[in-house]
Each structure stands twice: as structure tokens, then as C-alpha cells.
């Protein structure tokens, strides 16, 4: 976990002007064992052992040529757990639990598997831009490999059984992290959120469930997992809902440029000026201003490279900063100073 950034989050992909990342996750549980919330420590250990063996026997690749490594979260350092959290590979809850749990992670960090989260298995594939179909194929490939040696809890009527009935059926959650600054600026976001809910989509903040939006970044995901084939779930989200959301944001950007170009220019130039001049900056303010610069870069108002901003968005997070500068302690002045220096150097 010593690398300072993850390939999946710092690259650019299709529709990168609006779509930061896409994710697909499969929730699975082992038949014959209680769900994680009622599992004793020995049962959790047994689930880990079974999954680990299945992972090791999975060819040993995930089908795309990447080896999987095993990270025991109970013995992992706090910084490593925070790194995983900042890379959206584990949930905050999973990072801070005090119980036997693990993460299997492909070497390119596109595919991961939380063991003993809310469900025994949460298989996830993540990629840059609008790439839900590729993510789906990789996650499904891992699931198929594991199903050779593991027996998943399955019900004739309800499909794959999950700890929470909201995930039952396919157990598949498809999500995309979107940058929606123009919709926010034009105060259209509430309307979009309402429309999304009507389409049975959940809208969450930067760090998933219960989190606030940061930098106008929002996660959209399917809320229903039952009653549709995997293909239908995928085509509804990736082929229908996501292009519409991207289109709304692009139209809002055009409208914002036409109606209030000076205000928009002022906002993105101020953000860049702050980042180029600040001597102390918190992670929260850094993300907010980086996202504004991102908008400026996408609209051609600023010369900044999108890839630089993507990388910085991750590097300014507390654990990632402490990899580059081990003396940085979260929240203290030295940390804010190191963050400001890092950004100034990167943005010239």
C-alpha cells in the first residue's frame, strides 16, 4: 500500500468531463453461515479462510491477467486502511471495524473484494470514466471464478440472498461518481435528484452512504436489485440513465457559459489562484477548489491538465499526503502546509 496513488482513480476514461469513475459491485454470501452482523469471530475467520482459498485457486488471476493480493484489515495499519478508504476500495465502516475482515485486491487496483463487510463478499470493479460495462465484466468474471469453489446463498424466489433485503436478487449495484458543478450552479440539482429517485436511483455524496457532497461530486447508483436481469440492470444504468445525467450537466455547462460566462470564469480563476497561492489548505478546501479548476479545464477556460487534477484529488487526501510526507499529521498545520506546497508545485 505504499504507492501514492491508484491507477483506477487517476486515469481518464470515456465521458471524463462529467464521469469521474464507474463502479460495479456484487454482494454475495456463503450458504450455511450467518450473515456478518450475527457471525462470531470464529465464523468470520472461517469465511475469510474459505474465500482466501477460493481466491488463491482462482486461476490465480481474476480473468484479466491481474494477480489478487490479500490484505488482512485487522492487522493492517491505520494509514493503510485510510488509503484504501480514500481510494474507494473499502467503506469507512469497513476500515474502522474491529473484527476479522480482509480485502482481496488486484495489482492494478481495479478489482477488489471486501470479505466480512455487511455481506460475506462484496466484489467490486472500479474504473475511470463511464466504463460500467467493463467493470461489470471484470466483477462478473471474479464472481464466476469464486462460484467454482464457494457456494453462495441463493433462494429460488429471491435470488442471491443478502444481509439487507434492499440488495437481494442480483446483488448488483452499478454506480458512477459524477462531477455536477453546472447543475449545482444553476440550482437544478434538486430537480435532477428528484428525477433520479423516480428512476429508482440513489444519490449519495463523495464518500458514499450518509456522506456530504464535496466539490459537487455525487454518486448515482441503482436502488433496485430484484426483478431485472444483469443485462437489463446494466443497460438501464449505463445505456439510458447515465447518458441522460451526463447530457443534463453538459447542457447546464453550456447554459452557464452563455448566461454567466464572467461569473464562471471568476469562480474557476479564483480557485486556481487560491491553489497556486495558498500556504495552508485543508483537504476539504483543496477538493472544492480542485473541482472548480477541473470545471475550468473541461470548459477550456484554464490550461490545467485534467490528469493532474485527478491525481491531486487523491494526493491531497490525508492518508495519501502522509505517504508522500510521513511527517504530516491529519489536521495539524504542518499537514495543511505540506498539502498547499504539493498543490503549488503541481499547478505551477
Amino acid at each position: 500500500m505504499s504507492e501514492s496513488f491508484s491507477a483506477a482513480l487517476t486515469q481518464l476514461g470515456p465521458e471524463s468531463d462529467v464521469v469521474i469513475t464507474s463502479r460495479v459491485r456484487f454482494a454475495r454470501n456463503l450458504r450455511g453461515f450467518p450473515f456478518t452482523s450475527r457471525a462470531s469471530s470464529p465464523v468470520r475467520q472461517e469465511v475469510m479462510r474459505l474465500v482466501r482459498r477460493a481466491v488463491e485457486q482462482s486461476s490465480p488471476h481474476d480473468g484479466s491477467g491481474c494477480e489478487m493480493r490479500w490484505i488482512d484489515l485487522q492487522t493492517a495499519t491505520l494509514r493503510d486502511r485510510q488509503l484504501l478508504c480514500e481510494r474507494h476500495l473499502v467503506s469507512k465502516h469497513f476500515a474502522s471495524l474491529d473484527a476479522p475482515r480482509a480485502l482481496a485486491l488486484s495489482t492494478d487496483e481495479h478489482v477488489s473484494m471486501m470479505v466480512n463487510e455487511e455481506d460475506h463478499l462484496r466484489i467490486q470493479a472500479i474504473g475511470a470514466g463511464a466504463c460500467a460495462r467493463e467493470c461489470f465484466e471484470r466483477a462478473a468474471g471474479v464472481e464466476r471464478q469464486l462460484a467454482r469453489t464457494l457456494l453462495f446463498a441463493f433462494h429460488e424466489r429471491w435470488g442471491f440472498l443478502t444481509a439487507c433485503p434492499t440488495n437481494v436478487g442480483s446483488g448488483i449495484r452499478i454506480s458512477a461518481m459524477l462531477h455536477l458543478p453546472a447543475l449545482t450552479l444553476l440550482k437544478e440539482l434538486d430537480r435532477v435528484k428528484r428525477a433520479a429517485r423516480e428512476l429508482h436511483l440513489a444519490v449519495r455524496g463523495y464518500h458514499g452512504e450518509g456522506s456530504e457532497s464535496l466539490g459537487d461530486l455525487y454518486q448515482f447508483s441503482n436502488q433496485t436489485t430484484l426483478g431485472a436481469t444483469d443485462d437489463k440492470l446494466l443497460s438501464d444504468f449505463h445505456g439510458s440513465v447515465l447518458p441522460r445525467l451526463v447530457q443534463y450537466e453538459r447542457e447546464a455547462r453550456t447554459a452557464a457559459m452563455e448566461k454567466g460566462r464572467v461569473r464562471l470564469e471568476d469562480m474557476v480563476h479564483r480557485a486556481l489562484a487560491t491553489l497556486r497561492s495558498a500556504r495552508l489548505i485543508s483537504a476539504e478546501y483543496a477538493v472544492r477548489d480542485l473541482c472548480r479548476v477541473r470545471l475550468g479545464a473541461v470548459l477550456g477556460l484554464l490550461p490545467t491538465e485534467l490528469a493532474t487534477i485527478q491525481r491531486l484529488l487523491l494526493q491531497v487526501q490525508p492518508a495519501h499526503l502522509s505517504v508522500l510526507h510521513p511527517q504530516a499529521l491529519e489536521g495539524d498545520e504542518t499537514e495543511r502546509e505540506l498539502r498547499a506546497t504539493l498543490i503549488r508545485q503541481a499547478l505551477g
Binding site: 450473515f35 452482523s37 465464523v43 474459505l50 469453489t149 434492499t166 437481494v168 436502488q223 430484484l226 431485472a228
Partner: protein
Amino acid sequence: MKCDLCNKPAVVHEVIIQGGKSTELHLCAEHAIEKGLAVPTQQPLADILPALGGVVKVEGVIGRSPQQARCTACGCTFADFKKVGSLGCPACYDSFMPMIAQVIERAQAGATAHVGHSPPPSLDAERVQRLRSKLMTELENAIAAEQYERAAQLRDELKALEAAPQVHDE
């Protein structure tokens, strides 16, 4: 045969012997529950639930409220589920019928059944996993009951299972 108290078909037939005198009782599901009598499990309880104000039969116990319904496999109650938002084990889905069906339909925009893919059949894996799960439960019970000799024996059995050849569906 019709219910003694209404015109619905009788599903419960009891012979009550009191003071040396026997009386036959034939009741529909609704009246049987009112009298506290067991209803055959094949009775579609979902059909009569709304009329009963939430009184259901779970695991052979009559008159319990949905909150008290308990999964016999893991001990989780429906109230536990509502409190933590998580079921206890895969068997809870059957134990908490029909309440769980209502929860799912509400959460899943009215969908009532899975239509996606199923896991591939793997009978050997199933046998091994079922056995392993059973041994684990017995081991925990043995440790809880301080039966250490039995626990050691179960641990050896689990180890032997581990050494068994693995199954691939090539």
C-alpha cells in the same frame, strides 16, 4: 367442510375432550388464529394477514406479533432486523415470510422475484460447505459447553475436511 363460525373452508380440525365429553371443532384459518390454534403451514398466510392486523404464525407459534417472530436457524427476531437493518442468516428470508416479502416489494419498486442468473450447481462443493458449516456450529457449541475433548475432535474433523481434494467444475 365449512368453518363452524363462518362460511369459509375449514382448515383446522380439532377434537377437544373436556369432562369426558368430546367436541369436534372445524375452523377457517382466521378463526383458528383467533382461538389460538395451529394453522397448517401450507396455508397462504399472506392472503389473510391484512385482516388480522399483523397477527402471524411463525415456526408453529400462534398469536405472536411480527416483531416477536424469530428465525429458528439463527435466533434473529423481526424486531432485530428492523432495528439494525440486517437479517441474521439466509434462512431468515423464509422464517420472516410474509413480512419480508412486503419489505422487499417496497424496497425493490414492486419486484416480487429474481429473474437473473443462478449460481452454477456444484454438488460436491455444496456437500463440503454444508458439512463444514455444521461442524463449525458444533465446535462453537462444544466450546461454549466446555466440552474440550469433543471440541478437539471436531477441530480434527474440520482439518481433515480441509485436506480433502477441492472441486472444480471444469
